[in-house]
Symmetry: C2
Subunit: 236 residues, 2 copies
């Protein structure tokens, strides 16, 4: 936690917050802050800056905030992700959030295990918990938006164009002969399939919507490895 | 597990192996293979190819091997990593191994928590277990070499030049004004610090040995996110 995220509900007046639980514990046990010390804070979807500790007790910590900096610029990427298994999804959400992705669509593809859709990670509250870990890590404040699409074809036919408008559209596909580009500066919509890959029909559907299939080499990466590797490669 | 790794000890004659435990379970329960089916296999540090199931029982599975393909080319990268906490180390080892890194040095830096050195993950057997997960994932066979260096200065003064000879030497350092290059084709030695960063003395020591400090932006990534992001960026 390189930065404490502050929520509107934490304020007790215009510049003072009281924190309990995980954030209080982090400030006391990890940062070992005392009254008068400052910690890095960021207001969710707002500015970031310093919080000065003005009170500590067993239950809560009081901070006086001075929020003057803007969060880092977002990554110009929309991530379309075939729903991975819950443990991997958590890591991908944290990582995409830390890298500055602000729009993630979780989609059903043929090779997604049906049981994954039952995971409690998909509850809004739990998705946001993972995304906040990424914001804390990267000292960002802007919550990414995650949407869930349980049917592939209606998603591609009715929603994809709205999501990908004005961007270069890529689908990571190990079978492709086209090598994934690097160091680009335009907006990208990147689709990443399940471990076992998109089926040909899915690739065709995406290609009809303007997606180009690209490969990052013959090594098959797990999705939590592929996401940072491809985002790192695309944007520099 | 996209490929089953075969060890010399598995052979019962020149082309037949018997597998027990995790690999047997994977072939039976996940791949649902039956007698006559083939699975992807790779001989550790050797060729890869197909294994045809010739026998299955509760205790073991028998495969006839046909090993004719070479493993994928390695990544021209030496990774020097400030020892992360054990859970993150496991992920980094899996990821670096999957991406094709063949030489990893785990080093002590000022901000490494001393307790990390006591972790059983550092035992050779356990390190190799994580590295093999990466080889299985990426359908590689060549085991990376990992060395452990519990003193920073002797490592930099006496061992670093041997490791980094003939390569472009980079140290990821969020404070640097130089942006990390991308799409390069030369061999790279990449040093990545702990979450809290290298201290100035460590950066100076590395710079004296020819390392250039480079930044990948203002976002601080966790080391298991930074490794794939930077490797993905460097090599394309």
């Amino acid at each position: 936690m390189n930065q404490i995220i502050i929520f509107n509900k934490d304020f007790i007046n215009h510049s003072t917050v009281k924190l309990q639980g995980r954030r209080k514990d982090h400030i006391i046990s990890i940062l070992k802050s005392k009254t008068g010390d400052t910690v890095r804070v960021g207001l969710l979807n707002g500015k970031k800056g310093k919080g000065t500790v003005t009170g500590i007790n067993d239950l809560e910590i009081t901070l006086d905030l001075d929020l003057i900096e803007n969060p880092p610029p977002p990554l110009s990427a929309v991530l379309i992700l075939s729903l991975p298994r819950p443990k991997i999804l958590k890591r991908v959400l944290q990582c995409a959030s830390a890298m500055g992705v602000k729009r993630i669509a979780l989609i059903r593809t043929w090779k997604v295990d049906k049981s994954y859709w039952q995971s409690p990670v998909l509850l809004k509250k739990n998705l946001e918990e993972e995304l906040i870990l990424g914001l804390e890590q990267a000292c960002d404040t802007v919550m990414p938006e995650v949407s869930i699409h349980k049917l592939f074809r209606p998603f591609v036919e009715d929603e994809l164009e709205g999501l990908s408008a004005g961007s270069r559209c890529l689908v990571a596909h190990p079978g492709s002969k086209t090598s994934c580009m690097s160091g680009i500066s335009e907006k990208v919509t990147l689709a990443i399939g399940p471990e076992a890959g998109f089926i040909p029909y899915e690739i065709e559907m995406l290609e009809k919507k303007g997606f180009q299939a690209v490969s990052v080499g013959e090594r098959i990466l797990r999705v939590d490895q592929a996401v940072p590797a491809i985002l790192g490669r695309l944007f520099s």
